[in-house]
């Protein structure tokens, strides 16, 4: 079998598993009207499947900053941070992230994916150990692979399981990096951070927390799970992305360990890629200011999240373990998930369809992401549609 035949075989297997799903993935959005509405095909749809948690994608401050940056600095840097691509804005954004988390060190990466790749591969290498939550994002798995370290998984959010696996490592626990996430992207549940830190300290390991989905969402100023739990001191490295609450693209790592700066000289995902464009950096800086002062946005986001979670639970949907901006309905099988996803789209609601093997434990999910800008009318329409489809599809 040659290389192309292998891809044909994989495609045939995918289509055989769920032929009706062809076209369900990578659905094109033709026009975007606002942070909550867009056009798909000929229809105006509600966006309930984005990561735009604070609804800042059209914030005037961000648009203005991006426009000015293009006018003043051009469309791209055309080079890496190591070479010609380190501008005033990149350094300022790093300073602002360090200030936001009250940390000594901060590095900006070109994407959130690269933030995890570059941080993990920079921190650990052959002979070291990475101990990751079983439900970790692909960027964490890929960072581990790139590092060459020994990769061990612990059961999702199970601190006793983490403790057991650290015990087995013996003295190697001192060269172990534990990785968890503030909010997990599939079911929207939060890591038991206080207990994880307690176990980490017991075995003298280091902890990296990925706040990709919790930045802007948790804590009084939106730092994430570290702020909500008051555990900043116990976390060694925090990574995150600009592509969710901050509505651009890029990523960061902050730490109080001065050694983080060394990653600039050894981490390939940082070194061998072009730096973020001036417009990206400018809009991210503007969005970070709004996020830090976004208490009211967070209040509205959580009000919306609680409303959808409680309504769907009341209808009878099986959901993730706790309310949050990600509300995932867990369906019995891929066909049922596809029927619900199609039914929602026919009612002009766009959400995410997630089929095995993308979701944990081969689950089939229909995942909604809530936005602070969703209006009460939009929330009501979504709740009513979920109720109607539950009966029509026969989900119970």
């Amino acid at each position: 079998m040659n290389l192309l035949n292998k891809l044909d075989a994989a495609a045939a297997l995918r289509k055989a598993q769920l032929p009706e799903a062809v076209g369900a993935f990578g659905i094109p959005i033709e026009e975007v009207y606002s942070s909550t509405e867009a056009r798909i095909g000929e229809n105006r749809v509600l966006l309930f499947g984005t990561n735009n948690y604070l609804g800042l994608s059209f914030a005037p401050e961000c648009l203005k900053a991006a426009h000015e940056a293009i006018d003043n600095e051009g469309t791209g840097t055309t080079g890496s941070r190591m070479a010609n691509g380190s501008y005033f804005g990149h350094r300022e954004l790093e300073r602002e992230f360090a200030d936001f988390y009250q940390c000594r060190e901060s590095i900006v990466f070109t994407t959130g994916y690269q933030a995890n790749l570059g941080t993990i591969a920079g921190l650990v290498g052959p002979g070291d150990v990475v101990l990751i939550d079983g439900d970790s994002h692909a960027s964490i798995y890929d960072g581990c692979t790139l590092s060459g370290a020994d990769v061990i998984r612990f059961r999702h959010n199970d601190v006793a399981d983490l403790d057991k696996r650290l015990r087995r490592l013996g003295e190697r626990s001192a060269v172990t990096l534990i990785i968890a996430e503030g909010i997990y992207s599939m079911l929207g549940d939060q890591a038991p951070l206080v207990d994880i830190i307690s176990v980490k300290n017991k075995y003298n390991s280091l902890l990296l927390l990925d706040e990709a989905h919790s930045l802007g969402v948790l804590g009084n100023t939106g730092q994430g799970l570290v702020e909500k739990t008051g555990m900043m001191e116990g976390v060694d490295f925090i990574t995150g992305t600009f592509s969710k609450s901050l509505c651009s693209i890029g990523g960061f790592c902050v730490s109080n360990h001065s050694q983080l700066d060394q990653l600039r000289y050894i981490s390939h995902p940082y070194i061998f890629t072009a730096s973020p464009s001036p417009a990206t950096i400018a809009s991210t800086r503007a969005a970070l200011k709004l996020l830090r002062n976004g208490t009211k946005l967070r209040e509205q986001l959580w009000k919306n999240a609680h409303q959808l979670y409680s309504k769907m639970s009341e209808i009878g949907y099986k959901l993730g373990p706790e309310p949050g901006p990600i509300v995932a309905a867990i369906l019995d099988n891929p066909k049922q998930a596809l029927a619900l996803w199609q039914g929602l789209l026919e009612n002009n609601i766009y959400v995410n369809l997630i089929l095995p093997p993308a979701a944990p434990e081969n689950k089939s999910l229909v995942r909604c992401s809530i936005n602070a800008a969703h209006t009460s009318e939009q929330m009501q329409h979504v709740c009513e549609t979920f109720a109607k489809l539950y009966t029509e599809i026969g989900i119970d």
Binding site: V129, G134, C144, T145, G148, A149, D150, V151, I152, R153, R155, K164, R165, R168, L169, P356, P357, E361, N362
Partner: protein, 84 residues
Amino acid sequence: MAESDYNETLQQLCQRLDSFTGSDIKVSPDMSLVNQLAIDSIKLLNLIMEIEDTFDISVPINALVDVQTVRDLADLIHKIKTES
């Protein structure tokens, strides 16, 4: 002694796989994990956690690249057990 340990590991692994796959197929050492036991990459990751608990060892998932058959997996487990 080492050989009897290995045989015991192989037997224990086959029994564990019998219950893990939940099928009527009787697991034998030269069976392919993917082609004959239908253990895909996701199932394999979960299986490894169970094996770690069964044998009280750490099995790095990056060590699985050369594991194709039940015997390959038994070899890896035995190697880790004897080195620990």
